[in-house]
């Protein structure tokens, strides 16, 4: 609570309760860097390949589980 009230974190948490997607899973990993808002405007855009990799890995894990 000593931290400044992080409204962005609050909003993303609220959305994450309704929206269970891999994207939200990935996004929550960025909370330590405040979701990149201090970085340049292409921060998330530049993360696309990483997001794609994350999705692929998760798909793979799911497939392995099913098998």
């Amino acid at each position: 609570m000593s931290k400044k009230r992080n409204v962005l974190k609050e909003v993303i948490y609220i959305v994450s309760i309704e929206d269970h997607t891999r994207f939200v899973e990935y996004l929550l990993k960025l909370q330590d860097i405040n979701f990149g808002v201090e970085e340049n405007e292409n921060f998330l855009k530049n993360k696309y390949e990483e997001i794609f990799k994350f999705y692929k890995e998760q798909e793979q894990k799911n497939e392995n589980k099913e098998n």
Partner: protein, 739 residues
């Protein structure tokens, strides 16, 4: 939360001093006022306090630099552990200590969020001047929701990128699928062709054929056929040459039988020349018999022509013989080729002869070979198609595997795009709601009240503000109801820049009052940063009012504002510090140093007044004169034990003291009535102090009589100089009297 003591070490402009950190001790004072000229560390203090209590600083966002970079003092060593330590009283009046180390883990958490208690003037200024941004964004930034907007910008870029990547992968997938479909169609065509030409068993038939062998046989057969053609042609030509030779030989034989070629040739030549040159001869020069000249000449000419023909025939015969020899050689060569190729192709011998039967047999064989060549040509074409077919089958197989991967990639990219798009929709909804709820929660009545207090003007008092957010459109309707006017007006086009500053301030204060503990502190960095002179006095009055409920922590670089605000409070309720550049820890480095400001005294204010008068700043000089008068009268009031009604203590001013009978009490305690009257009269003779010192009931006590700016145009340098001189005498008189 009430701040009691702040200890800063190695943060911003405050150097790291191992055993003697920079300490601001509020002791038992309630408010803290910090004055310092530009660049002496006021903001360093504000940032240190903000970071100490919230873990964040606005400044790093504004400057777009790493938080730790801006926080760590530039002269601190690597091994130093910069920190901010705060001693505070919580809502249960318990004293607690909180310490936050740079690059360290927080030892424990504060019980309350205090970020709204920091009022940053720069934020208000951005709200006023950032007219290119939408109202929605301006309000959101003012209320500290810029992260929500910044994140959305980044999210939109990601969404567009995800869409682009998905569309790109879909295009690649479709192209690949089309390519495979085309190949499938070609494959189908070839299968039909194979079936038509080779039957249903075309596959095993084609597999059994070896293209190289077939091609070799085809090439041999073609060569054989060519050799036969050349052979037959050469034999025919040879026969023709032989016939011609025979004919020539016959002709030559006929001529030769009558003539010795050389002799006849010479005789005929001589006789012909003789007869041609010697005309009119009627007797034979050899036998003397009578002759007819013309007949002899004609016979000789014919004879000579025949002789020439014989010679030519002879030459032709030789040439023909040579040609026949050559043809013979070629015939033999072709013959040999035919025999070799035939042996190779059919593994049997063939007899090639120039006899008519043999030639006929060869011609008929040639027909067979031609048929066989045609068949082989078809087979070769089919084998070539078969090769292509096999390549297509292989490409289709690989393509289908690739297509599967592309399909997976496309579907995954579509999923990412859909997830990001849906998240954006929900995020926008929630963040709009958050801003909207915040605006709804902020009491509009309170905002209007604060706005009117710091923006006092009888003609343009705002009755109420309407700030209505439209979540769907992320737009804000911002209207104002002006006293005396029926219709609502567009507030943005109506309000001046100064009005907007007041509104920004009012919004932040109102928000702080909602979120904060009612006995909390409020820290304001340079509250007059963007407030014009006209509004400063109302702002000071409002801050004084605010100070009744809240602990004020105010920094400023404006000395007059600092003195005025400090003067609003009882000296027992506030502590004042100043910052300057010095060299505590190192003789070389200039660092921010905190010092307790000189206690206010009438003499100090007189000095300030004279200083400003020298700079022709009449407003400041008048203000300091008034502060000097107030200070000395409060000292007198204390000495004579003047009783003041408790409820008015917070709005105490010169007029309140006079109204409570200060002069009379002074006379009673010290006597010398005439001197006292004279001194007060001397001051009242100056119009600047006349109304202040008046004991008439023309002005309600809880209203200030005037602020100097109201009549500033009418003051002259000489007039203010006289006021100061009179005041100096007045202060001197009272000081001596009290002693």
């Amino acid at each position: 939360m009430r701040i009691k003591k702040i200890e800063i070490n190695g943060i911003r402009g405050f150097a790291y001093r191992k055993d003697s950190p920079h300490i601001i001790d509020l002791l038992n004072y309630r408010h803290l006022f910090l004055y310092g000229e530009n660049g002496t560390g006021k903001s360093s203090f504000f940032d240190a306090l903000e970071w100490g209590l919230t873990g964040e600083i606005e400044e790093s966002k504004a400057r777009k630099v790493e938080k730790n970079d801006i926080l760590r003092n530039k002269f601190s060593e690597e091994q130093d552990r910069p920190y901010v330590k705060i001693l505070y009283k919580n809502r249960d009046q318990e004293e607690k200590v909180f310490i936050r180390f740079l690059n360290g883990k927080d030892t424990f958490e504060l019980e309350e969020i205090v970020s709204d208690n920091f009022i940053d003037a720069k934020r208000i200024e951005n709200f006023v001047i950032d007219t290119r941004k939408s109202l929605w964004n301006r309000f959101a930034n003012l209320l500290g929701f810029e992260d929500l907007i910044l994140f959305e910008k980044r999210l939109i870029r990601l969404k567009n990128e995800a869409k682009r990547k998905y569309e790109e992968s879909e295009k690649i997938f479709n192209n690949k699928r089309k390519e495979i479909e085309d190949l499938e169609s070609k494959k189908q065509q070839l299968e039909t062709e194979f079936e038509e030409k080779l039957g249903k068993d075309w596959g095993s038939l084609l597999r059994s054929k070896e293209k190289e062998k077939v091609t070799e046989k085809f090439s041999d057969l073609e060569n054989l056929n060519k050799a036969i053609n050349y052979y037959l042609q050469s034999v025919e030509e040879k026969h023709e040459l032989n016939s011609e030779l025979e004919e020539l030989e016959k002709k030559l034989k006929r001529i030769k039988s009558t003539l010795s070629e050389a002799a006849i040739s010479k005789i005929i030549e001589e006789a012909y020349n003789y007869f041609k040159e010697t005309q009119e001869i009627d007797k034979c020069p050899v036998c003397g018999q009578p002759i007819r000249y013309k007949d002899v000449l004609n016979r000789l000419a014919g004879l000579r022509q025949r002789l020439n023909e014989a010679i030519q025939f002879n030459n032709k015969i030789k040439n023909l013989e040579d040609d026949i020899d050559n043809k013979d050689k070629k015939v033999n060569e072709y013959n040999s080729n035919i025999e070799k190729l035939y042996l190779k192709l059919y593994d049997s011998e063939i007899k090639v002869e120039e006899s008519e039967n043999a030639l006929q047999m060869l011609s008929s064989k040639k027909g067979e070979f031609e048929k066989e060549i045609e068949q082989l040509r078809d087979i070769i074409q089919l084998l070539e198609s078969w090769g292509r077919y096999k390549e297509i089958v292989d490409t289709v197989r690989k393509g289908q595997e690739n297509l599967e991967n592309l399909s997976d990639e496309k579907n995954l990219k579509k999923k990412i795009w859909k997830d990001v798009r849906n998240f954006h929709v929900k995020y926008k909804e929630k963040y709009s709601e958050t801003i909207s709820n915040e605006l709804v929660r902020i009491s509009k009545e309170k905002v209007t009240e604060i706005f009117n207090k710091i923006n006092q003007s009888d003609n343009e008092v705002v009755e109420s503000f309407i700030i209505e957010p439209d979540v769907e459109k992320t737009e804000i309707t911002f209207q104002a109801k002006i006293r005396g006017r029926e219709e609502m007006i567009n507030a943005i086009s109506f309000l001046s820049t100064a009005h907007l500053r007041c509104l920004g301030f009012a919004l932040l204060i109102s928000r702080m009052q909602i979120h904060s503990n009612p006995i909390g502190f409020i820290a304001i960095d340079d509250p007059i940063y963007s407030v014009d002179h006209e509004h400063r006095y109302f702002l000071i009055k409002y801050l004084k009012e605010l100070g009744n409920d809240y602990q004020l922590i105010i920094t400023t670089s404006d000395r007059i504002f600092y003195d005025l605000i400090r003067h609003q409070f009882n000296s027992n309720s506030c502590v004042a510090y100043k910052t300057y550049l010095g060299s505590y820890s190192s003789p070389v480095n200039n660092e921010v140093v905190l010092g307790v400001e000189i206690k206010s005294s009438p003499q100090n204010y007189i000095e300030e007044a004279e200083k400003h008068l020298n700079h022709k700043d009449l407003r400041a000089a008048s203000l300091y004169s008034r502060l000097a008068l107030e200070t000395v009268l409060f000292t007198v009031a204390e000495k004579v034990n003047l009783k003041i009604p408790y409820k008015r203590i917070n709005k105490l001013g010169v007029r309140a003291l006079m109204h409570q009978g200060l002069k009379e009490k002074l006379k009673k305690e010290y006597g010398c009535d005439n001197d006292i009257d004279k001194q007060f009269q001397n001051l009242s003779d100056h119009r600047y102090f006349r109304a202040l010192l008046s004991q008439s009931k023309g002005y309600p006590l809880d209203e200030e009589v005037h602020f100097p700016h109201e009549e500033r145009a009418s003051y002259t340098v000489e007039e203010v100089k006289e006021v100061i001189e009179t005041l100096k005498v007045f202060i001197d008189f009272l000081t001596r009297l009290l002693e």
